[in-house]
Amino acid sequence: MKYLIEKFGKINTSVLFLCIIFLILELIGHRYGETSIEDILFFPAFFGYLSCIIIFKIGVSLRSFLMKDEDYYDK
């Protein structure tokens, strides 16, 4: 635990623990979604994690052609 906090930071470790708690909650109660796909175990967790990574990846790849100099319009 101490090692984790040292390596990963206090806030980051707290978020990690929250993630685990919310996964355990799903095992305790019955969670269902608005659509049948969402009924898959831990679906929102996977979806949230993957979405964030995909958004980041696409965002970074867009940098090469959407990002211009700060004075681009003033030239």
Binding site: F22, R31, E34, A45
Partner: protein, 565 residues
């Protein structure tokens, strides 16, 4: 007397006195104006005031279950704006904000398209001063583009209203058919103000150029007025589902790479408008309630986020993520309020975003629109990324910057605390919030599935960001300009048009030169012929006389032909 004028009208007229009042009295006076305006909301539903000019009836004050929630939140936002801007001693922005808020409130109560048009344009002309208030070269240029586009939107509305009037004999502000030409013109007018895809450039161009007070006001009224208009006139129009889904989706990527945090918020605004547009497109009672609830909640939490960034701009002079960081120790209250706004927009349970967004997601699920549902779910993770984490993280934490500053002025703090309290109260007591929505429905946002599902989605999305940052995969923020749809009229059209105009100019010159040459040659030829043949001499040859006579006959023939045939 009070029922003769629409709510908001007193604010516009009252704003004329603001320049003559001393600083603090001015703020109290503005508060009184807003409260007097709000009193008109107690008159109940129905048509309260109409006038007739040249046989045309103008319904200037009507209210119903849709106008009420918008009128309430517009008045609350106007009060928050007055408190937030209380440190500003110059009267210019106060006049602009008061008349801008008043025009938006009056527009909501318009019962016909011509009255709506008047207030529609009034919001444009009053709000442009908030962009000009920055007094920079960029803001002047941006304000010019802003007013052109806003007035352009008004022209579409006017054209639609005139066409409708000529077709049906009245221009009542009601539900319209997207398949008719008048309906399409009105749809485009609303679409420009709602920042539809490719029509959204003005939003990201102008709002971040406004003053710190101005952006808070701008984020409240213009786009939400468009949402109100869509809810009133195009509820259930299916194309809105597609347009809204695109709106939720694509601004996320722009927000991720944008460096200016106020501009990030404008992309986020665009994305949130998408949720509302999708709900209006669905058009069921649950969905319309969702759209209105989302607009209501959004005004509060987006206003709160803009207030937080405005406070940072006011104290530090910049809102660029690359230059900010570590401000939490200097501005802790601002930081906490901004975090509350960020949690609300991310739709964490017990905050306003959750109780509003749940309505829309449930409406989508009930209608079986699975693909759009997942697009919006994906966009929800994106909202957490750019507004929930990026805004507070890069402004108040991230890396230590050399900036040393102090907490925001007390009036800004009061406005932010009220905004934060409202975000939490709506989240904790949703039943009171749902009671003011257009349709009375039974809906319970806090069930086990909703709460656990949402918490899993958000915490794991946050964890993904933490991993990216911790393992140094997340690239540093850079000073840059991110190209948006305004590039079309700022770079592409001038880039294509200017060479084209130059080419036309060159061709024109060449053609002119050619004809000049022809005329000169003809002139020289005839002159030579006349002089050489001594046409004007007393003694002329017979051949010359024949030429002259033939020429005169030809002239007479043309003259007769022109007149009689």
């Amino acid at each position: 007397m009070i029922s003769s004028f629409p709510p908001g009208f007193i604010m516009i007229i009252g704003a004329l006195l603001i320049p003559f009042l001393p600083h603090i009295i001015r703020q109290i006076y503005m508060m009184i104006l807003i409260l007097v305006s709000a009193y008109a909301l107690t008159l109940g539903f129905g048509i309260h005031s109409k006038i007739e000019i040249m046989d045309i009836q103008f319904i200037i004050f009507q209210s119903d279950s849709l106008t009420l929630p918008f009128a309430i939140i517009f008045h609350i936002a106007a009060i928050l704006n007055v408190i937030y801007g209380a440190h500003e001693k110059n009267w210019n922005q106060h006049v602009a904000i008061m008349s801008y808020s008043g025009a938006a409130i009056a527009a909501v109560h318009a019962g016909d398209l011509f009255t709506l048009f008047v207030w529609w344009e009034a919001t444009a002309f009053t709000s442009v001063f908030l962009i000009l208030a920055s007094k920079t070269k960029r803001s002047y240029r941006s304000a010019f583009r802003y007013i052109l586009i806003q007035v352009g939107s008004g022209m579409f509305l006017l054209a639609g209203a005139i066409l409708l009037m000529s077709d049906t004999g009245n221009a009542e502000f009601r539900s319209f058919d997207i398949n008719s030409l008048d309906g399409q013109l009105i749809f485009i007018a609303f679409g420009i103000k709602a920042a539809f895809p490719l029509l959204n450039g003005w939003l990201q161009d102008s709002y971040p150029e406004a003053s710190e007070i101005g952006t808070v006001a701008l984020s409240t009224f213009t786009t939400k007025l468009a949402i109100f208009c869509f809810a009133k006139s195009f509820a259930g129009t299916e194309i809105l589902i597609i347009i809204g889904a695109i709106m939720t989706f694509y601004p996320i990527f722009f927000a991720v790479i944008e460096n200016d945090l106020r501009r990030v918020l404008t992309y986020s605004l665009n994305n949130q408008l998408g949720f509302m547009i999708v709900a209006i497109g669905i058009g069921t009672e649950l969905a319309i309630n969702g759209a209105v609830a989302h607009a209501f909640a959004h005004i509060l939490y987006k206003g709160l986020l803009f207030m937080g960034m405005g406070a940072v701009l006011y104290r530090v002079g910049t809102c660029k993520a690359s230059e900010l960081g570590g401000l939490f120790k200097f501005m802790p209250i601002t930081a906490i309020c901004t975090i509350i706004g960020a949690i609300s927009i991310s739709a964490f349970p017990l905050f306003s975003g959750f109780v509003a967004k749940s309505l829309i997601m449930s409406a989508l699920g009930k209608e079986g629109l699975v693909f759009v549902y997942f697009m919006l779910l994906f966009a929800s993770a994106g909202v957490l990324h750019h507004s929930g984490i990026k805004i507070p993280f890069f402004a108040f934490f991230a890396h230590e910057s050399s900036i040393k500053t102090k907490e925001a002025p007390i009036n800004m703090i009061i406005a932010m605390i009220i905004g934060s309290a409202l975000c939490i109260l709506i989240g904790v007591f949703p039943s009171y919030f749902y009671a003011i929505l257009p349709y009375q429905i039974q809906y319970q946002p806090y069930d086990f599935s909703h709460v656990v599902g949402q918490l899993q989605l958000l915490t794991f999305a946050a964890f993904a960001f933490i991993c990216l940052w911790h393992f140094k995969i997340y690239p540093p923020e850079l000073n840059s300009t991110v190209l948006n749809s305004d590039w079309i009229y700022r770079k592409m059209i001038p880039g294509v048009l200017l060479p084209l105009l130059n080419l036309i100019n060159d061709i024109n010159k060449k053609v002119e030169q050619f004809f000049e040459f022809i005329f000169k040659s003809m002139k020289r030829f005839f002159a030579d012929t006349m002089i050489k043949n001594k046409v004007f001499d007393r003694e002329v040859g017979q051949d010359t006389l024949i030429v002259v006579q033939l020429f005169i006959i030809l002239l007479i023939f043309i003259f007769v032909w022109k007149i009689y045939l």
